[in-house]
Symmetry: C2
Subunit: 298 residues, 2 copies
């Protein structure tokens, strides 16, 4: 049970936390800071018990537990306000998708008595904004908790308990490990989806409309992924730059090998594709997807 | 209404046609040729009225209408048997996903009185084999009918009527146009999915299992696409080679530009991602996907 919770930024993730927290009565009092006027209007229509804050000032000093659900590029500004207003020994977490660069940056400016344990719930969608908030968003999903050298285990436990309240399972990693894993499982897949849509839009076809009209054969699934929030993804690509540059190079090299095999009609391509197909079974065994065939959404 | 229909190859597509044809009584008599012993056993368990043929011989000369649902690399062998056994003026279609190269190849060997109008239903799944056959697979999907110089309009109409029986909408293209469009809407997306899974499996991580365990952030959606039938896709990549080589180059170039922008923290990346996001809306307007957000399959 949390005494006074502050949610900073109330888009898809922030509003999903808000809904779950209010429904399960996880906190005695909930403050929500949201700067967008449009989002403020949407939040006012929520029939939930929380206090909307339009400016981060001394008001926020009441909070004991803070979750940042804002883009990574806002963290510096947010922590400078935290330094000014948050009380001693407050526990802060966040939901950012890239860790190493931002932790290094914030650790340099953050007040020592603000206890920041970063986390990353592996949940989301191509849609954004509070109107899409879903109280069940985190159920059975993983939440990664980032361990730093100075992380206290009691505070780590608090954060894990928070994600458990929200329905998710926790796993502890360091920032390096996190960024390496998510570069390949999430960041590169998103970049590739954006890049495919870009390639499709500038591919010279006699009839551009036909490309979208017949997108059911694969392209449309990528268009969904490439419809994700642009600020969030720009920030992730920049903040996980070191790993992104590595996986992009690896991807391009592998693509060039495929190109050569296609050019030469290499029958051995079949063996390669067959091997890659098996990865799917492992993902299903790890319960990261269902085995139910997808014939396209109706 | 078809008199005697022959389905050559009875995997996912062949068995979906078979089920629909039997249920809607589209043909007076149905022959199914299937060479795989495993598939033959599955087909025997279907409680449907058709004759299973294990060898293509004079038996097939009875058929008036033939649909080839076999991999592109089997077509030469199939047409040499057609030349030997099929009767004059029979109408043949197929469901292959690449057109130009195979049409050129087959036209050189095919008997002139076998009327082949190629088609391509834009329907399928990552699963294959007759146990996954679905009589509703083609409903509201596009079927592309390939027009060649010598295609007779009465035969084109027969093929269009056949796809209408199966529930799908027809569109006419020439082989060039077809192969250009599907290189970008389907063939490149599949290659990219295979290439991402390959990159993920050889990306050096301290913990390989973690990559699959946390694949919900994007990778798992690609693993689904990369689980498609390997023989079918090897054949498609080879048969649409000219367009594949072009789109691969375009894709790699665009990827290199993204890499530079990420390296340089180019804030303008946001504008680019925002623009790409809009393609999704067009695809939804064209009814190629739903606007319902995807929070991951449970």
């Amino acid at each position: 049970m949390i005494n006074k919770l502050l949610i900073v930024g109330c888009g898809l993730i922030g509003s999903s936390i808000l809904k779950r927290v209010c429904k399960k009565k996880i906190a005695k009092k909930v403050f929500v800071y949201e700067k967008s006027k449009k989002n403020q209007r949407i939040l006012k229509r929520f029939k939930l018990k929380f206090e909307l804050i339009k400016k981060m000032d001394k008001k926020i000093s009441e909070s004991d537990f803070v979750v940042i659900c804002a883009p990574l590029s806002e963290y510096e500004k947010i922590f400078s306000l935290f330094n000014k207003y948050l009380k001693k020994n407050v526990v802060v977490t966040d939901v950012g998708s890239a860790k190493k660069r931002i932790i290094t940056k914030i650790n340099k400016i953050k007040r020592k008595d603000i206890n920041w344990i970063s986390s990353h719930p592996i949940a989301g969608s191509e849609v954004s904004g509070p109107s899409n908030g879903d109280e069940d968003l985190f159920i059975n999903k993983w939440s990664v908790i980032i361990k730093q050298k100075n992380s206290s285990s009691s505070q780590m436990k608090k954060i894990m308990k928070f994600w458990k309240f929200l329905g998710s399972k926790s796993v502890i990693m360091d920032a390096d490990q996190h960024d390496r894993i998510f570069a390949i499982t999430s960041h590169l897949p998103h970049l590739i989806a954006y890049n495919l849509i870009l390639t499709a839009t500038n591919f010279k076809s006699s009839n551009k409309n036909n490309i979208l009209k017949f997108s059911a054969g694969g392209l449309r699934d990528f268009s969904r992924i490439a419809a994700s929030n642009e600020i969030m993804w720009r920030d992730i690509f920049f903040d996980n730059k070191i790993n992104m540059l590595k996986v992009i190079d690896l991807f391009i090299n592998n693509m060039k090998i495929f190109k050569r095999e296609i050019k030469q009609d290499k029958k051995s391509l079949e063996t390669k594709l067959k091997k890659l197909k098996k990865v799917r079974q492992k993902i299903i065994l790890l319960k990261q997807d269902t085995s139910k065939p997808d014939f396209g959404r109706a």
